[in-house]
Subunit: 412 residues, 2 copies
């Protein structure tokens, strides 16, 4: 079902020095599937995270925020699927803390050095007993080569595990960046997607890493949408273990602005590829669509219009049907809330096909050309507003029968 | 498919003195179906209208705005289905004007006294030749008793014609209010729904009628949503012919504040019933859902949260499945954009079932009780925010396979 997205090869996922991963089948919701992931982080690492802006933030999100605000040195991540531990009140916070405490005791650190993450059904109590009982199994499997299994463990309605790896030479240092993420519904991140974890062996100061994490998130996870529903559990974490070694000297090199810029570019690339993988594997997706808005008066305005198009059920069902019913896109542009938009300045391209010229259908537009593009599995909708120099892209999917089936059946 | 909505009986639709309706099968998009409606309005009537806030407002909407702004006395409405005449630029305006001109010549008035309306596919040229060729047939059928046929003529993906009639004694005058409307997709009105027309024989000054029309719209058509897509063609028009006669004297009576308040209440009732009929016949609808937000700090905030819930594809698919996966509602409340919302103060009822107490699942909540309500065809979701005294309701539908089918096939 996923659009041009294959399962990554284990061999293509480069381990990151200082990171080990292990999983358990703890039976959180269903038995016989990987549902608990432990990530052990070496001493001396920097960790940064961004989290959902949903006011009903899940208990683990609240605990993560506290831990990161305390500037404690994070030594482990504890992730479960099958239950979101959201809408669970004080009992949910307690459940998250107890789980962290149990892991801390087993690996020899403080409970305040463990970040918890949950994904699954909202408003049901988390089975901490089963989660905690599964920890020894996960710890027994801790290994630096387990990135693919980690990606499999955090899947919910995902059909393909999502993992991306890059090794780049920056200056005198070879740096590895490897990350995993999961979707596949309730995806309209506002800070980060459901769950995304990236690790690098680069050495990055915590404050710099925090800035880079926010930046990477802003142009990747914060630019995708499947159904417009912002999750209660969105979390995106970047870990920098600092274990990459320069070929001769290095520590001075890291501080340079240009070194950091090169690293940030590589980090953004990994984040974007993971975010796009979530869209490609969006619930029921049959198409991968980029909505690009150009010549907007601000980036915020460009995003606003791109999201209106990307969220329109009518636009999304037209893409599903490969039907160039493209007036629906204009309608969405028109209701996006840009009050002084001048329709007569709006241009629209579908890939290379000029569809809307000066606010109306281009005289040279032929339905056959629209049809040809609509039948592709990857499509770019480009809208020029004629208002300024700002631009933004949002990536999304179509809306299919399978989306309805998946979400009508999710709990059963 | 419509939820508890039957075809109105022709006998239950009370004619309005001063209003005649006639239709044609003009073959605008497909042949052999009613697709042009002419409404002839007696001299001396007041007419008011509210229109879409979509920036890509259709050509007929722009012409309507001009006519009403010029304070010309409106003598006819000309409505076609099959083509929205939107996203059609200057040629579209010309097409709307030409159609009005043709009708004006046939019924003996000025082109500037005709209001045009269109609904159908966006961004395709309107076949004015076929529309104009159909006018004599429509005029030949003009009759005060044709309200049901009029409701049938304006249908697109509607499965049931929508018409409502009330006769009320206000003071010494018996007043009739009869209206028609159509949906059934691209419904998230921002000023009015796709097309709604109400006529009354009450005598109401134009400025007063304008205020009443806006008010009636605000709490009816502006409180419904099917798919969150605001149409390019939303139009809601109220006609007051002033032909109702008091039992003895009357004209002075009309001016009284209490008389007008009683009339406005009856008008609002008709508008709300038409608006709710649109929801009941929403594309693919299997359920009719009221989302009521109480104890909000402002009505705007209450609406904002109600719409977030009403638009969430995850909430809507859960309703379709009759699955009490109610955490999805909390997630939507949380991302609605009320930044200082305190989750611990939020309460939620599903009909009479207390689901969320103080931000988490009520300890006494039983899944069976949620299940029982979810299986009903009409459901009230009541959310109390604990922030103030404002409240608002929004009416919506679930999200079904049929919605996808209808919109994937709409043009074929």
């Amino acid at each position: 079902m996923a659009v041009n997205l294959a399962t990554p090869k284990a061999a293509a996922l480069v381990p990151v020095d200082g990171i080990e991963l292990g999983w358990a089948e703890a039976g959180i919701r269903k038995s016989g599937r990987k549902d608990v992931l432990v990530v052990r982080i070496a001493q001396g690492s920097s960790v940064a995270g961004v989290f959902t802006q949903n006011r009903f933030a899940a208990a683990p999100v609240m605990v993560c925020r506290e831990v990161l605000a305390s500037r404690a040195e994070v030594r482990a991540l504890l992730i479960n699927t099958g239950n979101a531990n959201a809408g669970t009140g004080a009992a949910g916070i307690l459940a998250a803390r107890e789980s962290c405490e149990a892991l801390a005791q087993l690996i020899g650190c403080d409970a305040n050095q463990v970040l918890p993450f949950s994904t699954g059904v909202i408003m049901e109590p988390l089975a901490t007993d089963r989660l905690i009982a599964g920890l020894p199994q996960a710890i027994g499997r801790l290994d630096r080569g387990h990135w693919l299994q980690a990606a499999e463990t955090i899947m919910t309605t995902d059909t393909v595990p999502k993992a991306v790896s890059r090794s780049v030479e920056i200056g005198a240092t070879r740096v590895t960046i490897t990350g995993i993420a999961k979707g596949a519904g309730m995806i309209r991140p506002n800070m980060a997607t459901m769950l995304g974890f990236i690790a690098t062996d680069a050495a990055i100061e915590p404050d710099v890493l925090k800035r880079m994490t926010q930046q990477a998130c802003e142009f990747s996870f914060n630019r995708i949408t499947i159904d417009g529903d912002t999750s209660t559990n969105d979390s995106f974490v970047v870990i920098a273990t600092g274990q990459a070694r320069a070929r001769d000297e290095s520590r001075t090199e890291r501080a340079s602005e240009s070194w950091l810029a090169s690293f940030a570019a590589a980090l953004n690339e990994v984040a974007l590829e993971l975010a796009q993988a979530i869209v490609r594997d969006g619930e029921g997706a049959t198409k991968f669509i980029e909505v690009r808005v150009e010549e907007a008066s601000s980036e915020k305005e460009a995003r606003q219009i791109a999201y209106a198009v990307a969220h329109s059920p009518l636009v999304k069902t037209a893409f599903f049907a490969s039907d160039p019913n493209l007036g629906r896109i204009l309608a969405a542009v028109g209701y996006a809330g840009v009050d002084d938009l001048n329709p007569a300045l709006v241009q629209m391209h579908l890939d290379d096909v000029y569809v809307v010229r000066d606010g109306g259908r281009d005289p040279n537009y032929r339905e056959d050309d629209g049809q040809r593009v609509m039948q592709k599995s990857e499509i770019v909708v480009r809208l020029n507003l004629g208002r300024g120099a700002a631009a933004a892209s949002v990536w999304t999917t179509d809306f299919s029968h399978d989306y309805v089936s998946i979400n009508a059946d999710y709990r059963s």
